[in-house]
Symmetry: none
DNA sequence: GAGAGTTATTACAATTTGATTAGAGTGAGT
DNA sequence: ACTCACTCTAATCAAATTGTAATAACTCTC
């Protein structure tokens, strides 16, 4: 899941960001409405979280913008506690849900997941991904190969999960950079190659090999050699 | 006590929310039936308060849903004044109690407390929590490791208990901050790390280690290394 | 099979994250 | 008022992760 947080309170923004990341949720942040709007224009988010009071472009206006241009993307508004007028305004501007500060972090996570489920922009990940004797638990982020538990770093796991979702298909480096690294412009980096190498060491050191190179194109996870 | 309010009238919802909070009752709110349902799915409430007329999923249907899936959770329905048909429908859909708008706030609190008393929903902690040679008596707050009695401070104990209840699962720092410390928006603290360190000294200085760090995510109590 | 273009591997620097420690502040009990 | 245990902050140290860059190995085309 991919979430955008637009919130000018730096502390709160970081808190939400850290919390969601350790929940395994992809997070992009903006500290004002204008930057928020351009991010919404550029990328595909599953949910957008907006603070009401922001310099530049406030939450209501940004919410209206989202609803006009991407009506399918659900919006959660954050507002100061008990400002009733805000609440009404929020619903009028088309928000899908609401959270008064201060809120329990769990509350936010639940509502994010609920909204993402209600607007399934992409099929939800199955609990378990498998390929021969390679197995991945997408909730706990645990991985097994040939019966052995393997510990992966966050990046390694994200790479593996992405390849596994697209198993049997060739995935290009650019595709991986965009979707696993969130790099959206052209750099001449070889991170992908390096991490494929890391992954091979950890999960592909036994037969049969699952992670194949497709020369000149990219990589592919597949059972047959 | 933990109560869920599902009510689309923003003003009324807010009024109930504030009122219950000042009674020291934990409140979660939803402004439509669909969000309400997903909150019920994911959290444990002691009582659910439902409005009858709502967009998306109305009170009766949501009530039926609750009674089918969590028959132990009591439900109070809120309905427009004196509509007898509604009353009948409400009881048919399994509601435990009833309130016609407008109602006295005291009345709601009284009924909530009565229902919560009648249905002590939350499963009480077991008397004894264990993991290999680590044992905790949740009544006396006594702790043993490898046969030796260990004395913990209040905070250390709370942390250990929480981790033990969630044994085998990774628990994030934000989760611990919220549920063990009751701290909600503080990014710049490392109390959790410090107390994990205290705990390790006291209960994890022998093999096998039980308290594991999951890099970038949090901590976990688990028997296997 | 030579050469150009790709990919694999490795070492290392930068960054991020976690562990550890000392000590300031607080409050209960004496 | 004094002590003591407890809680938390802040600083420092240690470890893990993430990229970059350089070089080696490989693949394809001619």
């Amino acid at each position: 899941m991919n979430v955008l947080i637009v919130e000018d309170d730096v502390e709160l923004n970081q808190f939400i960001q850290k919390g969601l990341q350790s929940e395994g949720i992809g997070v992009s942040v903006a500290y004002d409405g204008i930057i928020g709007r351009s991010l919404i224009n550029e990328r595909q988010f599953d949910v957008v979280v907006l603070d009401v009071n922001m310099p530049g472009l406030n939450g209501y206006d940004l919410c209206r913008f989202v609803k006009q241009n991407w009506p399918a993307i659900p919006v959660i508004m954050l507002t100061a506690l008990g400002s009733l007028d805000n609440k009404v305004l929020g619903f009028e501007s088309g928000a899908d849900d609401y959270l008064s500060k201060p809120f329990a972090f769990k509350e936010l996570v639940f509502r994010l997941k609920a909204l993402a489920r209600r607007h399934p922009s992409r099929a939800p990940l199955p609990k378990r991904l498998e390929l021969l004797d390679l197995a991945v638990d997408t909730e706990s982020h645990q991985v097994w190969r040939a019966g052995e538990r393997v510990t992966l770093t966050a990046r390694e796991y994200a790479l593996l999960e992405y390849l596994l979702v697209k198993q049997g298909k060739v995935v290009s480096r650019v595709d991986l950079l965009e979707n696993v690294w969130d790099v959206h412009f052209n750099t001449n980096t070889n991170v992908v190659d390096v991490y494929i190498n890391y992954l091979r060491r950890k999960i592909d050191h036994v037969e049969p090999k699952l992670l194949h190179t497709v020369f000149g194109v990219g990589y592919m996870l597949r059972a047959e050699p």
